[in-house]
Symmetry: C2
Subunit: 471 residues, 2 copies
């Protein structure tokens, strides 16, 4: 493809992109397909000769688009609904074009320095102390893995050279994200050394039990080295009592990591900054701008007040990566597993500037407002109940019926293509999760979904043998 063609196809693709976002409500949220359908449509081998972009874009439209779950759809309400935004997309276009790798300051100074600047901006928006050093990783799973690695380095500085010691124990709520357990597995802590602390009636970690477990482990000769609190759990978006957890972590000299991958974004709204109470005492915190700060996937931000420990855990500089600026510049490769570093900061910069603090706050407030309003509607309906508090924009609810009824309801709603909700299990009951996070979601979308849910429940109730459709 010569430059003239690149320009022409670039314009063509931009028009497709704008049309797609404009007409997003016309697509079914979930595709009607079975595993293997797309594989079966595509050739089993790559072409020998090059193919035209016309053919490729045609196949993209004919084969790929129908196999997409449209995360952009305003009625995608599953998992945590995330969303990019126009300025973020424009930035990704430039990131892909520049194709720089900021492993070192010298390998692309703009990557390192814009990362420093944007993460300082975000830190200020979130009301975090200036002592928090920021670094961008790809996902929260990787951010939290680095938190646990730094915790290990603090508790057992020999681990880096001699290998992980048995006997380190980690504490997190039974509602924490699976990435915490995965991080502990990866780092050689071991699953059985992850203490899943039970939660209270509002799905918040029980600090009394936390203290008991840590004390018991210490008496048993184990070393409680890390506590992970969550601000916005995945199942219900509950907020652990971080100030009290910080007291306990401090008492035991353990690293405190706050997983605010989803919920942390809400702290940019001044009146909501209290959700991060206690986080000022954390050693580290993760927040994902690709979740609720309108930045395209992937961009996870990790803050730590102890960057020197993180660096001690990971720094390794082979000869071919030594530069004359090593003593004067941050080389982000020293702070993690990954050497390669995309220019992710550029998209955060575009988004923060184009939306501005006010713009971001307006959208987050609207999402939370919609969730409260919807929760009220659900609560006031005799056939439904709200299953957990709604501190953010996630509504957990269920039809007053059996688990099978609720499963059938979810499957039927999702099969309609009009909305996509997900589920969880709370207190042994199957519960529907409706997460609002898409930049384009309007109140009318939620009214439509609520209508759909009620009508579907009604229809299922009148059918002779309602059962899960298997979707």
């Amino acid at each position: 493809m010569n430059n003239e063609e690149f320009r022409r196809y670039g314009h063509q693709v931009v028009d497709w992109m704008a049309d797609y976002l404009e007409n997003i409500r016309d697509y079914p949220v979930l595709p009607a397909m079975q595993p293997g359908d797309l594989v079966d449509r595509l050739p089993v081998a790559a072409p020998e000769g090059g193919e035209s972009m016309d053919a490729i874009l045609e196949d993209f439209e004919q084969s790929i688009v129908p196999a997409l779950t449209h995360w952009n759809h305003p009625r995608f309400l599953a998992y945590f609904a995330v969303s990019g935004s126009p300025p973020g997309i424009l930035a990704e276009m430039l990131i892909a074009t520049l194709n720089v790798n900021g492993m070192l300051w010298k390998s692309c100074p703009a990557v390192t320095e814009l990362e420093q600047v944007t993460l300082s901006w975000l830190r200020q928006w979130m009301g975090l102390r200036p002592e928090f050093f920021g670094i961008i990783y790809d996902t929260a799973s990787i951010s939290s893995m680095h938190a646990i690695a730094a915790a290990r380095e603090m508790a057992d500085p020999e681990a880096r050279t001699r290998g992980a010691n048995r006997g380190l124990t980690l504490y997190t709520s039974e509602h924490s994200h699976s990435s915490i357990e995965k991080g502990a597995i990866t780092l050689g802590v071991g699953q059985e050394n992850v203490r899943q602390i039970p939660v209270d009636g509002n799905f918040r970690m029980r600090v009394d039990v936390l203290r008991e477990r840590m004390e018991a482990d210490r008496l048993a000769g184990l070393k409680p080295f890390c506590v992970v609190a969550t601000v916005g759990t995945t199942s219900t978006s509950s907020i652990d009592p971080v100030p009290a957890i910080a007291d306990v972590a401090t008492e035991f000299g353990a690293w405190l990591h706050v997983d605010a991958a989803y919920g942390g974004a809400a702290a940019v709204v001044p009146e909501l900054q209290g959700i991060l109470a206690g986080a000022e005492r954390a050693h580290s915190l993760v927040v994902n701008p690709h979740k609720w700060l309108f930045t395209p996937i992937d961009l996870s931000v990790f803050y730590t007040t102890r960057p020197e420990i993180l660096r001690r855990a990971f720094s390794l500089v082979p000869e071919y990566l030594k530069t004359g600026e090593d003593t004067r510049a941050v080389n982000y490769m020293d702070y993690g597993v990954q050497l390669g570093r995309r220019f992710r900061a550029l998209k955060l910069w575009f988004v923060m500037r184009n939306l501005g603090h006010e713009g971001v706050c307006r959208i987050i407030r609207s999402h939370i407002g919609y969730a409260q309003r919807l929760a009220d509607l659900i609560r006031s309906h005799p056939d439904f109940e709200v299953s957990a508090p709604t501190p953010f924009s996630l509504v957990c609810f269920r039809y007053r019926g059996s688990d099978d009824d609720n499963r059938a309801l979810l499957d039927r709603v999702n099969a309609s293509g009009k909305a996509f909700l997900s589920h969880t299990v709370l207190n042994g009951q199957f519960v529907l999760r409706l997460a609002i996070g898409n930049i384009a979601t309007q109140w009318e979308d939620l009214e439509e979904v609520w209508d759909l849910v009620r009508q579907t429940a009604k229809a299922l109730a009148t059918e002779p043998h309602s059962s899960a459709s298997g979707n």
Copy 2:
């Protein structure tokens, strides 16, 4: 930004992108700046109100572009020169727009299935056995970390639950990438349990020493669990003797991982497929399409013949991620640390189709041809010497003078803005590295750099006090 504005700015950005790639030779490869220069230019806080895209794009051009190291420049010859390509960039535009997350099959079937298809295509191009299961990670560092984790799972199935055991030992050449050691640190193996096996005169792992060390460790009660061979080392692009290494790994029942992050791409060229001799016996292999397969950063491909072990090491499925298709579909989240999954396969699909097998082979052949031709020129010059064999497109060479002379030469060449070379140390000597990998690099670019290097060396030799300029 409304949709009309998004379309307008999209077209404007596309024109900038096309202009940039067209005029890339006009930019200095390395920016003339000091650490902190960009930070000093930018506001210390993000704006309260949103700013126009005009202002943001203007600042991008005025502040960011001058702080870039231009990896796209055809005379960027440092590290491993990598390059995206027009079809890859077009795909990234769509990826950012769709903004899907393929953690599960259901969360976006196209992500999972296109990943299966493209990795099968690439496997065929590389001549690997159909038994190799493929998965995309972000970077080779993460790919290799997963290899070591799977090796640990195979050697010590209790590690997942009980924590890493002391006594596992890993073997790799002293020229292997730093990510291998980092992976071992992360996983709790420990740096001192990584045996850096010495190399022969051509920088290839010495298999006799490998066997001795493994035997000695076994006799000492340790468990040799993993051997990492490299096809295309970072310093010199040397190729470890994988068939003989495979024999030893088999003898000890150790996992064999082949790090072909850079070199593996050359195996798509039929007459070069011999570089992967022995890899058919590997348990895993990494190759980075974002290095030498013209795919924008980041996209690292991991192949393993033992996916069930990788899955056993990492699978963890919380309730909220269970789906009705779990038994019939691949859920890639089961095979690694990261839950989030960008739609990276789309860019590999665009690149493989648009360039075709022939197109990719043509470019890789040209790069290797340029490197051979340049190495011949260097060898025939009385003042220079080639410092290592040139099996791929990396030329290691030095001026016949002191290390300081070579350091000054490198600094002066890089400070010119006309080219960017990097360095390494071989047999105690400072050596220049010239890596050819950019899709736009022409022979004329290399002639220009070779002229620049010779003239600079000549100028330095005639200066009264030549010394490193500190750049």
